[in-house]
């Protein structure tokens, strides 16, 4: 049947049709919709979970694969860093049921901390990797990935990029699915990794990979098209940009859909008769280095150009225009048209939503610390947006969970400065808890602020251990953040609604004066999972036009209109924060 699917939906449907038995992952843009789509289309035969983090997800999947299940693990590229410990060892141990690990890369980056390249992770871990160029290809490739995984008894990486994940396309999908009945776990020494076994398996892997590369040289999505003496090598979404930029122009085109193990035989056939190759890829020059290596190995006199030669941009996304510019220089294609200069446009960075409880939490801490020297270590989530003016409350952001430990490091060096760390509820469960234990054990003096909005907000409101809901639709016991903090030895723990501003400020002041680790948990649900109250409005008679509401909290619903504050009714969530900040009592709500 013909369907219009997003790349992530296509990956999910491909896995379902391939008979996947277990799917787990941790939310992260641009990968999140894969697992959600499996859950939405689950006939009850697939076990689906949001795991607490990527490492847990990969280990759960490994256990299921040991037992003969087909498993899918989903994450964004930085999630693979978290899961790298099980990944590296699993590459040596192998699997029984097919295991496909989706790690979505994010050239740009559009929603990520790094522009790392999962293809490098594949080389590093010596695992095969698939690199789809479109949503429909991703659908078709998932089945191939499961088959390859089972043929070689190895986990297989699958790395779409943002434009494949979040692009939608019309495609034919199957009406039926393969049924895979797991045999169950069979005890064997091979499942327990020891140095001796690692040595033996290392030899096997080194023997296997060239053979796999040879086999992949005839893989249906690794292709050579066109002709001539000038070649273009590409893969992933850049293949589509190149096709579009080339139009009717003929060039010999190599498409690499399995960057590791590299399909050397096919690449040699491509290089034969060429004088020059331009490599067009995003993130790292992976294909480029492979071709340079091949030319050296086989003493070929072919000039390989790309990122390393300075012909292609080193960072950021490719586009049809950027590829056209490269091909203009390389093949003499028409140069891309120049853009007309635009008039000055308002800057529109992403902001915390109107009614977002994080705004109130940040503001409360800021008020409590007024006049004191304090550092605010932030973390990954919507609340990273607390860095923007006028809040300006995120001094550092590194990676998931690092707020708590970064604050400790700073505190050891500057004990007279007050150090705060801010962490969201989902991040707390993902990788915050060990940091708190570290702080307690090592007698750190920090104040932890937990921004508990009852959901994983930034990635689109996934449940987590604190929500009491699972992806199987079950209601489970909520894991309590205050109980965890108390259990690991945090002596000063309070729970406050950040929209009760005066109370919130007092709670922060009390926590800040506590010697040792203290915590304030700000509890108020994300606006996306709660109902709005009546909108506030401005009594212009009472408004002095002082702009305190704008200059202090920066709510997108509040602006100035004719010298007076104005609240946009379609945006206002009725949170009341502006009314609590207004010195004139001009913000009116339904009492």
């Amino acid at each position: 049947m013909k369907k219009f699917l997003m790349g992530n939906e296509a990956i999910a449907m491909g896995a379902i049709h391939a008979g996947v038995n277990l799917v787990c992952g941790y939310p992260g843009t641009p990968s999140t919709e894969i697992l959600e789509t499996v859950a939405k289309n689950n006939d009850g035969s697939i076990y689906v979970e949001w795991s607490v983090n990527e490492k847990a997800a990969m280990e759960v999947a490994a256990g299921a694969s040991y037992s003969g299940a087909r498993t899918l693990v989903t994450m964004k590229q930085v999630g693979l860093n978290v899961a790298s410990d099980p990944l590296m060892s699993l590459a040596y141990v192998g699997v029984k049921g097919g295991m496909v690990i989706v790690s979505a890369d994010d050239p740009g980056p559009i929603s990520s901390q790094t522009e790392q390249d999962t293809r490098h992770f594949a080389q590093f871990s010596k695992l095969p990797v698939f690199d789809p160029s479109s949503p429909e290809e991703a659908y078709a490739m998932i089945g191939d990935a499961f088959a390859l995984s089972e043929e070689y008894g190895t986990p297989v990486l699958f790395r779409p990029t943002t434009r494949v994940c979040h692009g939608c396309a019309s495609m034919e999908i199957a009406d039926t699915k393969t049924v895979n009945k797991p045999e169950g776990f069979i005890k064997d020494a091979k499942w327990t990794i020891f140095p001796r076994l690692s040595y033996q398996n290392h030899l096997k892997i080194e023997e296997r990979n060239p053979a796999m590369g040879e086999k992949l040289s005839s893989y249906r999505f690794n292709t050579i098209t066109g002709g001539g003496t000038k070649g273009i090598a590409t893969g992933g979404i850049s293949y589509e940009y190149t096709k579009e930029a080339l139009g009717d122009c003929n060039a010999k085109l190599l498409k690499v859909s399995t960057p590791h193990p590299f399909p050397e035989k096919l690449a040699l056939a491509f290089l034969n008769g060429l004088t020059e190759v331009m490599v067009i890829e995003e993130l790292d020059p992976v294909i480029e280095r492979e071709l340079i290596f091949l030319c050296g190995k086989h003493h070929l006199n072919v000039a390989i150009r790309g990122k390393l030669s300075g012909d292609v941009q080193q960072a950021g996304e490719n586009t049809v225009e950027s590829v056209k510019a490269v091909l203009h220089n390389y093949l003499g294609l028409p140069a891309p048209e120049k853009d007309e200069p635009l008039p000055p446009l308002p800057v529109r960075p992403p902001v915390l939503c109107a009614g977002c409880p994080h705004r109130a939490s940040f503001y409360a801490v800021k008020q409590a610390m007024k006049g004191q020297k304090a550092v605010f270590a932030g973390d990954i989530g919507c609340y990273t947006l607390g860095n923007a003016m006028p809040l300006d409350m995120v001094d550092t952001c590194l990676c998931m969970g690092a707020d708590i430990t970064i604050a400790q490091g700073m505190q050891h060096i500057e004990p007279d400065v007050k150090h705060f760390s801010f962490i969201g509820d989902s991040t707390f469960f993902a990788s915050g808890i060990t940091g708190v234990v570290n702080a307690v054990y090592n007698e750190s003096d920090i104040t932890l602020i937990v921004l508990d909005n009852s959901t994983t907000a930034m990635t689109g409101h996934q449940p987590h251990p604190g929500t009491g809901r699972t992806m199987m639709g079950n209601i489970t016991e909520k894991v309590s953040i205050p109980a965890i903090l108390t259990a690991v030895g945090v002596k000063e723990v309070s729970v406050v609604n950040p929209f009760h501003l005066a109370e919130a400020v007092e709670a922060v002041k009390k926590a800040a004066t506590h010697k040792g680790v203290s915590a304030v948990i700000f509890q108020s649900p994300c606006i996306a999972v709660s109902k709005p109250s009546s909108a506030y409005w401005v009594d212009s008679e009472q408004c002095a036009g002082c702009k305190k509401c704008i200059n202090e909290i920066g709510c997108p619903a509040v602006s100035m209109d004719g010298g007076k504050a104005f609240i946009e009714p379609s945006l206002c969530f009725g949170c009341s924060l502006c009314a609590q900040v207004c010195p004139c009592g001009a913000m009116k709500g339904v009492q």
Partner: protein, 201 residues
């Protein structure tokens, strides 16, 4: 034949649904469609752009610059931001109302959207300005600007889709309780565009 349509606005305005409706209507006619969406951090009140491409010989999910047949601007400055994508002879369908970013309020910028109109007028072969507030009021919902703009774009003839085809797409993609509301918004948007086009003629 290929149709390229850009939808640009501010996170939360509903560009994604509008782009899905266009793609659905095209697919129902037996055409192939591709779209690219902004999902993630930018959705929080930042600039969002949806690319919709209809036709068989399409590779890139993103529309190349200077090749969009129509820009549907959910906000005046966001329409201007996407003008480099508009082809010569392309049409701009734009909501009149400005959404002032917090940065503008903080920085005392006087931006109100009207300053964008002469520029759009100059660059687009045809400019259709839609009074979204009026239509939302008539429909009794602040959430239908997206479908109203879609109606106006349909009336411009640049989407290659009929109103009936879009209505069928709405019935497939929108929750049952909101189909009537969205159908009305689509019609109101088309009506507004038709009146404006008649006035010009």
């Amino acid at each position: 034949m290929t149709v390229n349509c850009i939808l640009s606005g501010v996170g939360g305005q509903g560009t994604v649904l509008a782009s899905k409706l266009i793609a659905q209507a095209a697919m129902d006619k037996g055409q192939n469609a591709r779209t690219a969406e902004t999902i993630g951090m930018a959705q929080r009140g930042g600039c969002v752009v949806s690319h919709v491409r209809i036709g068989d010989e399409i590779h890139s999910p993103m529309i190349p610059k200077h090749s969009a047949d129509v820009i549907i601007g959910f906000e005046p400055a966001e329409a201007v931001r996407c003008l480099p994508y508009l082809k010569k002879g392309g049409v701009a369908v734009v909501s009149r109302k400005a959404i002032r970013p917090v940065t503008a309020s903080l920085g005392n910028s006087a931006y109100n959207g009207s300053e964008m109109m002469p520029y759009l007028q100059k660059e687009a072969a045809k400019l259709i300005v839609v009074d979204g507030d009026k239509i939302c009021k008539a429909c009794g919902s602040a959430k239908v600007l997206n479908v109203a703009l879609l109606g106006a774009a349909c009336a411009s003839g640049m989407l290659g889709l009929s109103m009936e085809e879009l209505k069928t797409a709405i019935s497939k993609r929108v929750k049952p309780q909101f189909i009537e509301l969205n159908t009305k918004a689509l019609e109101e948007g088309a009506k507004a565009a038709e009146i404006m086009q008649q006035c010009e003629e």
